[in-house]
Structure formats: structure tokens, C-alpha cells
């Protein structure tokens, strides 16, 4: 069934764009409230230490200082963390575990006074030995980062061991086995707006907090829980967010500390992190080392896959259970491999805790997996494209972890990208120093592996002029999710986009939501909006029945009007209905409909939060392939990206303009992580490249020609056949695709990121030596 759409699938500029181009769009950092103070956080200069004493007396005497808090003001019960509450607001036990950890905070009349006061706080530390490398952290004699956690041994934060089928059997069946080891570096989301929070606490004990977040509902919950305030008295507000890319996710120290300062002085307090501070503590993408082993038959059928990996967790657990299980399960969404085993460990280190990064957990696995496929193809004497096509999942398959693939455009993605980049021709007529590479990734949408729930809720209110307002707790951090909601309402209700508004996040008004992760807002949020529209239609028919004096069965909704079936001249518009319920009925029949995307999840966590995770625990799975042509300068090691072709199986395009931008952005972000980005620390654990001067991200000059292809595989789980998109192609596939292309160009395989000219030159020198 091909449905004809009037709005869905078109190019609609962001509804918020006009205020963004005129400078009127409000970001939390722009807000100044009457009587507002400026806050500043004092952070640990040591990676691992005990605080012997904090003396705030000099700071307190500084004119303009209104409040100081230290761990002494924070009861030791105030621990948080999503997958285990091991994390303090401030170092409550006097134990600091990474450079940048919160030690004290000040609220003062201006930024200068707040900074000066922080300088006047005297902290006496006893420095402990620290550990920064994951393998060293696991040694029995390594410094123990969490001696207070009795279950933690050898700094292991979490472990997963999943086997499906039998890898022993799988490798026995194999004619060829390849093994290798890969490593990717930690990278920053490097959103443009450093994190910021504004809090106010009034005399009736209402806490109001303005944030910049992917998941504002969680910030409200965490504030209420950690600070022990009734949820009814916590308000979280958000207007625009200056980028997040997976970070700025949950309630963090910044929010709690700002709130605590506001509570202490009962005045508004704003804390804006500097870029340097933000980089030091942001929940960045983890570094990881992965051992890979793949086995295949001579015909290219992959029979077994084994990975063993070690992830750098940083000082606190945060979301590591999710991270590890996602990485394992998602990895196996791509290819038909019956026997798989993943052994994963996350190690505590004395570094800032890691977190969620766009395309959560994909790059860490794809970098090795997609290079291993190429290595296997070479040994088999097969084309890398053919090997992928032979093993690719298809519609109707179930992955080894029980995910059913209601739609799967992977084969189309591989075929279309390889065709577009002229794969066969490029391979047949190889030019010196040039090469092509290909790689794929998949990503689930509305994942329930971690909680067994999710879904989304949208409320729609019909106004008296026939326009509608949408209430959603799902955030839009710039990617255009609210556009998709508005377009859905416009499509379903026949209301012009000019009469549709998505209200800014105010937790007192909007429904609770899971937040923006794994494209779930696009899938579940659009679905909820669609369902709310159906409810609006139903309620409009009921009201129109009274207005037109016909039974509801005789009425139909079409393009913003309710008609008497077969009588086109007898109808009422949405405006007539909105006005009727508001004015004629004195508001007593206000139409406000709810849409809920709620569906059964065939997965529940085991009693012990076990690692089996079998079941259809996702809304849908989306696929992508990225092909790249590179030229490698063998005298300098510089990689020149000649062209990128990227195919995204998003199910169905909702807003073409937005998804094109998402793909471009992901490609360039991924290009940065492949070729230039890396968080670097010194011997004391201090981040040495916190700013854009030293942490180089791609600039306009780095943009290669990018050709985008959208594969619309029509996912049956969602109303428009849509699922998610724009995350994995750039983030997951580009790294191995570039590595594969470099190998094709000059015959060296780079197994760690970033792929720098230096690494290429060293590999080339090594290769020459071997010859």
C-alpha cells in the first residue's frame, strides 16, 4: 500500500529556525532572572585523592559571595547514576576519582566574584596513586577506585557474557578464521553550547530549573529523588538546546549543584560551564579495545563471531550496563551469523565517566567488525561487497538476540552505495594511491533492552481557530524531532503548519517522556502524535455530530473538516468545532486528545539483571551503508576523502530537509572521530585538549562531496513505515569504511583511531621493512 502524503516526506525547514536566524531563540544560557546570582564549581585538580580539609572562610568573607557549598552540605545519601548509584553530587566521602570532579561551589553577584571565591577556597588533598589504562586497572595490584563498593573487584564496573548458538561449533564449521585486535579512542560530542543550568527556589519551596538536555524528564525525577523534594514542586523548563549528540542526557552534578545553591540562597543561580570545564567532565564516548575472531566457510557464509572487549568506563558506572548490552546485541543486527559470543568488561579508571554518544555503542564495534569482514573477504578471495551481500540480514529475519526485522533495507543500502561509487570499476582500474571502502551499521529505535519499557505520549489540544498545540516531553536538541511531530499533525488533521505549534518543555505541563536516544523520538514520538491525531478526529466527529445533527457513523473526517458522508456541502471545519467547544460550550468540552505508543515488549530483565537479553526488545532496526573513496599521500600519510556515498534505510523519510542534515552532520562528526579527534590526558589524568584549538573537529574545509541515498524499507511497526535514521551511517560506518579504503589504497590496515598521518606513515614504513 503506497499512501499519498501531502506533508510527510517533504522538505520543511525547522519551525524554530526563524528565531534561530534572528538571534531571538532562547537558550538556557541567555536567561537572566531578577536577582540572579552566578555560580561556579570548584573542581579537583587530582585524578585520585582524599580531601583532608576544605577551608571556605576566606571565600566567605569576599564581598559579593552569597553561598558556598561543599560536600559537608551534601548528605552522603545523595548518590546517583542510571545503572547503579555510585556517583556523588560532590565528593561526599572526601574521595575524588577524576580531574574535574566537583568539590565545592559558589554563588556570587557576578562571574568574577564567583571565580575569585573559588580561588580562595583552600582544599588540602592527599594524593593517591591513580590508574588511567583499562588493562592496568584490572590488575590485582592496581589502585582500587571504589573500595567502598563491596561487589566491585579489580575495578570491574560491569561484565557481559552472551553466547547464542555455539561458537565452538561455529568455528569448527569454518574453513577460514581471521583474528585481530582494534582500538578506538575516546571522543567528545563537542556540541556548540557548553552545558548550563539555571535554578530558582521560591519561598513556597518550589524548585524551578532551566536546562539544556536530551532528557528533561529525567532531570526532574533525579532532582526530586536526590534532593528529596516532592515531584509536584519541581519544574524543569527547556527552550532551545545548542546540540547534545547523546550527551547532556540525564540529571547530572551541574543540575543538583545549581539547585542546591539556589535552595541555600532562595535566589536564582545560573551556572554556565566554560568549554574547558565542559570538555573535562562531559559524558563522552568511551575508548575501547576489542579482540575479534570471525569464521567462515569457503563460500563466504560466516559461521561464527567472537568478541572480547574492554571498555574504559571512567570513574563512575553511569550507564554502563546499557552500553555493554547495546554494543553486543546491536552488533549482531547486520549479518546472519548463528553462533556468536561476546565477552565484555568495563573497567573503572581515574578519568571522567563516559556516557552516551550519538549512535550509542556502534562505532566501538563497527570499526573492528567491518574491517574484519574485509580481511575475511580478502582471504576468501571474495569482493568485500559480495561477502556483505551474502551474509546480510533481510526482512523477516530474527537476529541472534531475538530482534525481529520487520523491515530491512541493508541489501539495498550495500547495492546502491557500491553502485553509486562505481565499486566494480574502481576495483578493476585501480589508481595508484586511491582506494574505496565500504561498511555498514545498524541501530535500533526505541530500544527496550535496558528497561523493558519505552514508548511515547503526545497530547494535542484543539484551539478555537482550528489550530493545534502539541504537548510532548520528548526533547528536540536541534535535530528537528518537533518538526516531525508538527508535520504528523498537519498531515493527519489537514491543519496548515502555520497553525501547529509544539510547546516548549515545561515539566508542569508536558507529559513525562523517555528522552531523545536511539532515534526513538522519531519512531515512537511520531507514532504517539499520529495516534493522538486519530483521537482528535474521533472527538471532532462526536462534537460535529451534535453540531450537524447527524449520528457519528454518518460523519467522516477529511482534511480538517467533518463531513456528512455523501453530502459535501454539509460540513464543519476544525475551527468551527474548536470555537464551538470553547465558546458555545464555555470550554466544557475542550478537545485535548492523548496518543500513546505503547506496545508489548517480549523482554524482561532477569532477576539478577542478567546478560541474556533475548527477545524482540526494539521498536525497529534501521540500517545503513557508507562507501568512501580516498587518496592517500604516501609521502605525508595525509588522507584525502574524495567522495562519500551514504545510504540510510530510515524506513520512510518524514522531513527530507532534516534527515539530509542529520546524515551530513553525522558523516562529518564521524569523519572527525576517524581522522582527527581524540581526548588526550597527561600523566596526571588532566585533559590536555579541552578546547577547539587543541581538540580539532572538522571544519567546512574538510567537507568532501557527500551523496545521500534514502532507502525506504517501509517498517510495519510505525504508522508511516518510518523508523529512525541519521545516526549510524556517519558515526558507525565511516570509521571502518575509511580504514578499508586506506587499505585498498596503500595496503596498510590501521587498527586504531584516530587514523592520523603518523600512524599511516609508520604502517607504510613497517610494510616496506617486511618487503
Amino acid at each position: 500500500m503506497k499512501k499519498q502524503f501531502s506533508v510527510i516526506g517533504t522538505k520543511v525547514p525547522q519551525l524554530s529556525a526563524v528565531n534561530k536566524v534572528t538571534g531571538k531563540a532562547v537558550y538556557t544560557g541567555d536567561l537572566i532572572l531578577p536577582g540572579m546570582l552566578y555560580g561556579k564549581i570548584l573542581r579537583s585538580p587530582y585524578a585520585h585523592a582524599r580531601i583532608l580539609n576544605i577551608d571556605t572562610s576566606k571565600a566567605e568573607k569576599l564581598p559579593g559571595v552569597k553561598a558556598i557549598i561543599t560536600y559537608k552540605d551534601v548528605p552522603n545519601s545523595l548518590l546517583f547514576g542510571i545503572d547503579g548509584r555510585d556517583e556523588p553530587l560532590m565528593s561526599w566521602d572526601g574521595h575524588v576519582r577524576f580531574v574535574g570532579q566537583e568539590v565545592a561551589a559558589v554563588a556570587a553577584i557576578d562571574k568574577e566574584v564567583a571565580a575569585e571565591a573559588c580561588d580562595l577556597i583552600e582544599v588540602e588533598y592527599e594524593e593517591f596513586p591513580a590508574v588511567f589504562d583499562t588493562e592496568e586497572a584490572l590488575r590485582p595490584d592496581a589502585p582500587q577506585i571504589h573500595p567502598e563498593l563491596k561487589d566491585v573487584k579489580n575495578n570491574i564496573a560491569f561484565e557481559v557474557d552472551i553466547e547464542r548458538g555455539s561458537i565452538e561449533e561455529g568455528f569448527r564449521e569454518a574453513d577460514i578464521i581471521v583474528e585481530d585486535k582494534f582500538e578506538i579512542s575516546p571522543v567528545n560530542q563537542a556540541y556548540m553550547e557548553p552545558d548550563v543550568c539555571l535554578a530558582n527556589y521560591d519561598d513556597a519551596d518550589h524548585l524551578s530549573v532551566w536546562v539544556s538536555s536530551t532528557w528533561p524528564s529525567n532531570i526532574r525525577d533525579e532532582l526530586a529523588y536526590v534532593l528529596n523534594i516532592p515531584i509536584s514542586k519541581v519544574k524543569v523548563v527547556q527552550f532551545n538546546v545548542g546540540g547534545a549528540f547523546g550527551a547532556k542526557f540525564t540529571g547530572l552534578q551541574l543540575h543538583h549543584i545549581t539547585a542546591l545553591l539556589a535552595m541555600k540562597v532562595r535566589r536564582p543561580v545560573k551556572i554556565t560551564l566554560s568549554r574547558t570545564e565542559d570538555s573535562a567532565v562531559l559524558r563522552h564516548r568511551s575508548g575501547i579495545r576489542v579482540n575479534w575472531k570471525l569464521g567462515a566457510k569457503k563460500d563466504g557464509t560466516i559461521t561464527a563471531e567472537y568478541t572480547k572487549f574492554l571498555l574504559d568506563q571512567g570513574a563512575y558506572v553511569y550507564m554502563i550496563r546499557r552500553m555493554l548490552t547495546h554494543m553486543c546485541c546491536r552488533n549482531d543486527g547486520l549479518y546472519r551469523i548463528k553462533n556468536v559470543k561476546h565477552e565484555a568488561k568495563a573497567a573503572y579508571t581515574n578519568k571522567a565517566p563516559i556516557g552516551t554518544y550519538r549512535s550509542f555503542g556502534d562505532a566501538q564495534m563497527s570499526f573492528g567488525r567491518e574491517q574484519m569482514l574485509d580481511m575475511l573477504a580478502e582471504k576468501l578471495g571474495m569482493s568485500a561487497v559480495d561477502l556483505r551481500l551474502k551474509n546480510a540480514h533481510q526482512r523477516g529475519d530474527t537476529t541472534p538476540h531475538g530482534w525481529r526485522l520487520g523491515s530491512c533495507g541493508l541489501i539495498d543500502c550495500i547495492k546502491e552505495t557500491s553502485k553509486e561509487i562505481n565499486w566494480a570499476e574502481k576495483k578493476a582500474n585501480k589508481q595508484r594511491g586511491r582506494g574505496v571502502g565500504i561498511a555498514s551499521t545498524c541501530h535500533e529505535t526505541d530500544d527496550r533492552t535496558t528497561t523493558g519499557s519505552y514508548g511515547s505520549v503526545t497530547y494535542i489540544k484543539l484551539l478555537e481557530d482550528g489550530g493545534v498545540q502539541l504537548l510532548t516531553g520528548e526533547a528536540d536538541t536541534g535535530q528537528g524531532s518537533h518538526n516531525a511531530f508538527a508535520m504528523t499533525a498537519a498531515e493527519e488533521l489537514g491543519v496548515p503548519l502555520s497553525h501547529v505549534d509544539v510547546l516548549p518543555h515545561d515539566s508542569d505541563i508536558v507529559p513525562w517522556a523517555w528522552g531523545y536516544l536511539g532515534s526513538r523520538v522519531m519512531s515512537a514520538g511520531v507514532q504517539a502524535t499520529y495516534l493522538a491525531c486519530q483521537q482528535i478526529k474521533k472527538e471532532c466527529i462526536d462534537v460535529a455530530s451534535e453540531m450537524l445533527e447527524h449520528t457519528p457513523e454518518k460523519l467522516e473526517f477529511n482534511k480538517g473538516r467533518v463531513f456528512v458522508k455523501g453530502l459535501t456541502e454539509e460540513s464543519v471545519s476544525l475551527a468551527d468545532i474548536g470555537s464551538y467547544v470553547t465558546h458555545d460550550k464555555r470550554g466544557s468540552a475542550m478537545i485535548m486528545a492523548r496518543g500513546v505508543d505503547d506496545r508489548p515488549t517480549e523482554y524482561t530483565l532477569g532477576a539478577d539483571n542478567d546478560s541474556h537479553h533475548y527477545g524482540h526488545s526494539v521498536g525497529a532496526t534501521y540500517f545503513d551503508t557508507l562507501a568512501v573513496e580516498v587518496e592517500v599521500n604516501t609521502k605525508t600519510g595525509v588522507v584525502n576523502i574524495l567522495q562519500i556515498v551514504v545510504a540510510d534505510d530510515c524506513g520512510k523519510v518524514i522531513d527530507r530537509l532534516m534527515i539530509e542534515g542529520q546524515v551530513d552532520g553525522a558523516v562529518m562528526q564521524g569523519l572527525g572521530a576517524t581522522l582527527m579527534e581524540e581526548r588526550k590526558i597527561n600523566a596526571k589524568g588532566r585533559l590536555v585538549n579541552p578546547d577547539f584549538g587543541l581538540y580539532r573537529v572538522p571544519h567546512a574545509i574538510d567537507v568532501p562531496p557527500i551523496k545521500r541515498i534514502f532507502v525506504e524499507s517501509n517498517e510495519p511497526s510505525y504508522c508511516y513505515g518510518h523508523k529512525g535514521g541519521g545516526e549510524s551511517p556517519g558515526i558507525g560506518s565511516i570509521m571502518p569504511a575509511i580504514a578499508n579504503a586506506i587499505y585498498d589504497a596503500v595496503g596498510v590496515r590501521i587498527k586504531s583511531t584516530p587514523i592520523t598521518p603518523k600512524k599511516i606513515m609508520e604502517a607504510l614504513a613497517e610494510k616496506t621493512k617486511l618487503i
Binding site: 536566524v21 556540541y191 556548540m192 578546547d691 584549538g693
Partner: protein, 156 residues
């Protein structure tokens, strides 16, 4: 030491008290309330704070306010004529060159200055000119398209 100076911003005069070290970005945002100009870094490397000083793009986080007494400052709030948007503003909307919007004011101000100096740029010239303005959302593709569209006269 605090000094009172007069600033011409978006063709209006403002009298402000500043310290010699006060940066324009902070004065604009905190004292004058023109918050369209953003601060994205500590080192003049992101370009989000770009404004025009006497028509030329300048990073307001690298500019001391005290030196601007005789200069004309233009911020993102000053380029539309009432409700009529500047061609660059229109092009950024139409081309989807705006996502989170945090870099947008700086990008548009830089583009305004750049197109005055080079009204018919080649694509490579645009790419080079924007080496001091970072965007993390769009991958620059649609920003470059928007600037090209204005340069080619699509918005006249």
C-alpha cells in the same frame, strides 16, 4: 578601573560601564541583553560569537569592549529590517542550514562580512573562509549551500 563608554550597536547608542578587560561578548549578552551572540569556547576557535565591527566579521570573545567607542557594532539582531529578514537569514532557513542554531548567528555574521568582500565566491573560497566557525550539527553542507544561494542572487 570602570569606565563609561558609548557603544553604537545595531544603529542604536548604548551607554555602558565597562572594565578594561570586559569582552564584547559578555557586555552584549549580560549588560545589553543581546543574547543572539553566543559563546561556545574559551579561545576564539568556534566562531559562535562573531559580530560585525565596522562591517567586518570579528570574534566578540576576542574583542575588548573598551576599544569600540568609535566603532559600529552589528549583531545578529541588527541585520533584519523589521520583519524583513536578511537574504542570508532566509537562505539559512530554506536550505535547512539551521539545526541546533547555536552556531547560526556567528555563521550568518561571518557570511555577511565574507560576501561583502567576495560577492561571487567559489565553493572552496567559502570553505576556507569559514575555517574559524564550527558547526557540529549540519556537517556544513547546507550552510555552504545557503551561502552559495545568496551569492548567486537567489534571494535578491
Amino acid at each position: 578601573m570602570d569606565q563609561v563608554i558609548k557603544l553604537s550597536i545595531n544603529e542604536e547608542m548604548y551607554e555602558v560601564i565597562v572594565k578594561p578587560k570586559d569582552l564584547l561578548v559578555d557586555v552584549l549578552r549580560d549588560k545589553i541583553g543581546l543574547t543572539g551572540t553566543k559563546r561556545g569556547c574559551d579561545s576564539g576557535t568556534c566562531g559562535a560569537c562573531t559580530v560585525l565591527i565596522n562591517g567586518k566579521a570579528a570574534k566578540s570573545c576576542r574583542t575588548k569592549t573598551i576599544e569600540l567607542a568609535d566603532k559600529k557594532i552589528t549583531t545578529i539582531e541588527g541585520i533584519a529590517k523589521g520583519k524583513i529578514l536578511d537574504p542570508l537569514q532566509k537562505a539559512f532557513i530554506d536550505h535547512g542550514a539551521v539545526q541546533c542554531g547555536f552556531c547560526t548567528p556567528g555563521m550568518i555574521m561571518k557570511a555577511k562580512s565574507f560576501l561583502q568582500e567576495n560577492p561571487n565566491p567559489a565553493q572552496d573560497e567559502i570553505k576556507k573562509a569559514f575555517s574559524g566557525n564550527i558547526c557540529r550539527c549540519t556537517g556544513y553542507v547546507k550552510i555552504i549551500e545557503a551561502i552559495e544561494a545568496v551569492a548567486s542572487g537567489d534571494y535578491e
